[in-house]
């Protein structure tokens, strides 16, 4: 019943590890897009233009409440209908970047909103420029609030990259599926994929928690997580 084959495991491991690099690349690049676009979405919602604020708000809500895998299909297949051909990688990055940008824009927003209003007023009273207010006063105080959010979504985007395999991005999950199709063995490839995911996401999550504690401590704030 339980016929785990070690030979086979070591045979496919290099291929899976190579694909892991692509997964990390996809997650990293997607996250970078999300960080930049997310900031743009968040700032667009702080402008005095009511219409822009509303449109961005609705767009963010829409993207957040529809499935990522459907969005990936949408981006990949709608382009060719209008004569634009995007490679699986490009459309995958656009879809996952946009999806997480919507989530991250909420994190940015919560961070900026978490800074008490008195801090802004004090900056005005001290005649600080807007740039100085943001860089020296607001952003440093917003950082501890946003770190858990940013960290969680970094792990989340990593765990969502297998969805890119549906349009043929050759990442880790895609590699496991190909191995399964070639050899008719599913036990080892899928189990290994699970283990690789665990081996990356658990330490990352732990590191983020540590980093947050360290950050709060260095800013003289109280610890969020008690030792458990």
């Amino acid at each position: 019943m339980f016929d785990w084959k070690w030979n086979f495991t070591f045979e496919i491991l290099p291929r899976l590890l190579e694909a892991t690099l692509k997964t990390l690349l996809a997650a990293g690049f997607g996250y970078l897009i999300a960080l930049i676009l997310g900031l743009a979405f968040a700032l667009a919602q702080r402008t005095p233009f009511r219409l822009l604020t509303h449109i961005v708000r609705e767009f963010v809500e829409f993207v957040r409440s529809t499935p990522l895998v459907l969005q990936i299909f949408f981006v990949f297949y709608v382009g060719p209908q209008f004569g634009i051909r995007l490679s699986p990688w490009t459309s995958g990055m656009i879809a996952i970047g946009l999806h997480y940008a919507s989530y991250l824009s909420e994190v940015y927003r919560a961070g900026l909103d978490s800074v008490p209003k008195g801090q802004w007023e004090a900056c005005i009273a001290l005649n600080l420029s807007v740039k100085r207010t943001y860089y020296k006063i607001i952003i440093p105080q917003a950082i501890p609030t946003v770190i858990p959010g940013f960290g969680n979504y970094l792990v989340a985007i990593f765990k969502d990259t297998p969805m890119l395999s549906v349009i043929g991005v050759t990442e880790l999950f895609h590699a496991a599926t190909s191995i399964g199709a070639e050899t008719y063995r599913f036990l080892e490839p899928y189990t290994l994929v699970g283990l690789i995911f665990l081996a990356i996401s658990l330490p990352t999550a732990m590191f983020i928690r540590r980093f947050e504690d360290w950050m709060r401590a260095s800013l003289g704030m109280k610890k969020l997580y008690a030792k458990d």
Binding site: T66, F74, F186, F197
Partner: protein
Amino acid sequence: MQSYVEFLQTYAPRFVDGTLVTLQQAGLGTILAVVIALVMAFMKMSSFFPVRWVGIVYIEIFRGTSLLVQMYWIFFVLPLFGLTLNKFTAGFLAVGLNLGAYGAELVRGGIQSVPRGQYEAAIALNLPPFKRMRRIIFPQALLNMLPPWGNLLIELLKSTALVALISVTDLMFESKMINSTTLLSAQTFGTALIIYYLIARFILTPGMRGLEKRLSRKLSIG
């Protein structure tokens, strides 16, 4: 625009069929997720080490890997251990088990957010442990955790789209099929996106808000 109306007239029944399967998957997944969340949260808070450990390992494994990987594992690997599930069962099972792990952390957070004084008062009133949890702590915890559960249920609804990849004929699957016969991708996937959005925005969100209102009224009156 004309052609879109015709498109809808032709394919509306299939979108409806798909939506019904999606709702079934989401409904069954939700029930399973709630049960798993409660069980695992209490296990993780247990003072008995082996029980606590099971809770921790379960939560970390299911939160540490992808739902898609878990679903494929359940569907393709479990049969090798002699447990063959049909695709419909495998679909909502994976969704429920995965989201249940996230839910467990919400339950735990909710229970721990109830002020310490409430425990002490319940002990002072000599309530037995089970009654203390059921009558005093849990109702207050429930009120705290309802808003994050609303978000989690939207995540759950979105997650059910993945069951299409093991050929459960849900909304995602139907739209993939329609797309491959018509090649009208914008119309097909656009319609599916809108249906998901409408379910999340006009059924789930108001539903959870209504639940929250009812519970808070109940708690404040008696």
